[in-house]
């Protein structure tokens, strides 16, 4: 398989340290999708528990809570789409059709982290949708 390297990377003379330092950012970025998912999860459950304990009574509908969490969900999904989009660009799949980036060179490492972040963004997106469904479909605190 032919590897077409991006031109910034052509020389490949950077030391490993410099390269790792540069890649630290994208290492952090791969956690962003799951992190948004986790925050959305905690916020959804926490808010619902507190709301049902303090604000609403058992059978009362809770439109305020549901609208609030719908907005939060849309924001979380937008965040994940943004993370996923950046990861997709970093993976750069459609440019070189390099699926696995298995060479272990700098560019491969960079694109692999993009690939991983992209897949995690998909999982996180589905996770957020599934977490949000109960809150959006349940009418009251019962």
């Amino acid at each position: 398989m032919v590897h077409q390297k991006g031109k910034d990377w052509q020389d490949g003379v950077k030391s490993d340290e410099a390269e790792f330092a540069e890649e630290a950012d994208s290492l952090w970025r791969i956690t962003l999708g799951p992190l948004i998912w986790a925050l959305h999860f905690v916020a959804s459950y926490g808010t619902t528990a507190a709301w049902c304990a303090k604000v609403a009574t058992a059978f009362e509908p809770v439109p305020g809570l549901r609208i609030g969490l719908a907005v939060l969900t849309v924001a979380a999904l937008a965040g994940i789409v943004w993370v996923g989009w950046r990861a997709w660009r970093q993976w750069d799949f459609t440019e070189d059709w390099d699926y696995v980036n298995k060479e272990g060179e700098n560019e491969d490492r960079h694109e692999f982290l993009g690939h991983a972040a992209f897949l995690l963004a998909i999982v996180s997106f589905v996770g957020v949708v599934y977490v949000a469904m109960p809150v959006l479909l349940i009418e009251s605190c019962r």
Partner: protein, 332 residues
Amino acid sequence: MTSWRVTRPGIFAPCLLLLLLPACDGPQSALAPAGREAELLADLFWIMLAGAVVLWLAINGLMFYVTRINVGHMPRRLAEGIIIGGGIVFPVIVLAALLGYGLTLMPLTRVPGDGLRIRVTGEQWWWRVEYWPEGAEAPVVAANEVRLPSGRRTDIELAAHEVIHSFWIPALGGKTDMFPGRDTLMTLEPLTPGVYRGQCAEFCGESHALMAFQAVVLPEEEFADWLEAEAAPARPPSGPLEAAGQEVFLAQGCGACHTVRGTPATGAVGPDLTHVGSRLTIGAGTLPPTAEALANWIAHPGTIKPGVEMPSYDELAPDDLAALAAWLEGLE
């Protein structure tokens, strides 16, 4: 390399399942629903099962396809289509549809009741039951049996005394846990009059498995009549044997733990016995309500129900025991 031979267990397993199917009927089956909630849950079960079967067949079908049928090189697009379509997109859609369907049922199982409220407290190992008709100041106290009017929605308030229990009448609805110090709520709308069986569904100690009860669904007027009778004090002894039985009851100090309204016995440690003779079982679903079984129970409850919180009265004279049992049986 392919082996199509179906092994013997492979044939027997489906046959065994067929044999087990009749077991889905009966007084304690979520698949033989007799109430609104139970109907929803039974539908939910069958639809979830169908979804699971579809997913199982599709995923295993694809596995079969790629490992047995199309084993050679596969065009990349097809391979990725199978993985992404069959492994991600299809399950995500099916699971989202099942989840969405399941969740839309939840509000339907949580509709408020329309008058009667029942409070059930889990004890070790029996059920304290209080009926609060609309506007009542004081409850009608009973035990070890739950009676409900059919076609009406009853609020059921659940509590527990010392440990967690769980209240479950599979033929009428889902189960709800009972916690010490925290009330939980459920509502049930039974539809078909009949006698169903309930069972404690959360391990609560030695005799957890013997903590059951009968759930009796009555047409509305019959229920009203029954509740009126249940609210009345115990009937006076009908003959000399029964009168002697009541004497024994009071002399032995049974009244320290049991209430029989209309007598000096007002204990609240054990089940209310005012109308114990009209129950369909005694010992929380353990024995039939006959004089013989009552005598047996009183003489050695701990043998019948390990760890029971009632002392044995095996030193009672046989005559006294018989009189006591006869009186209790007559408390209808």
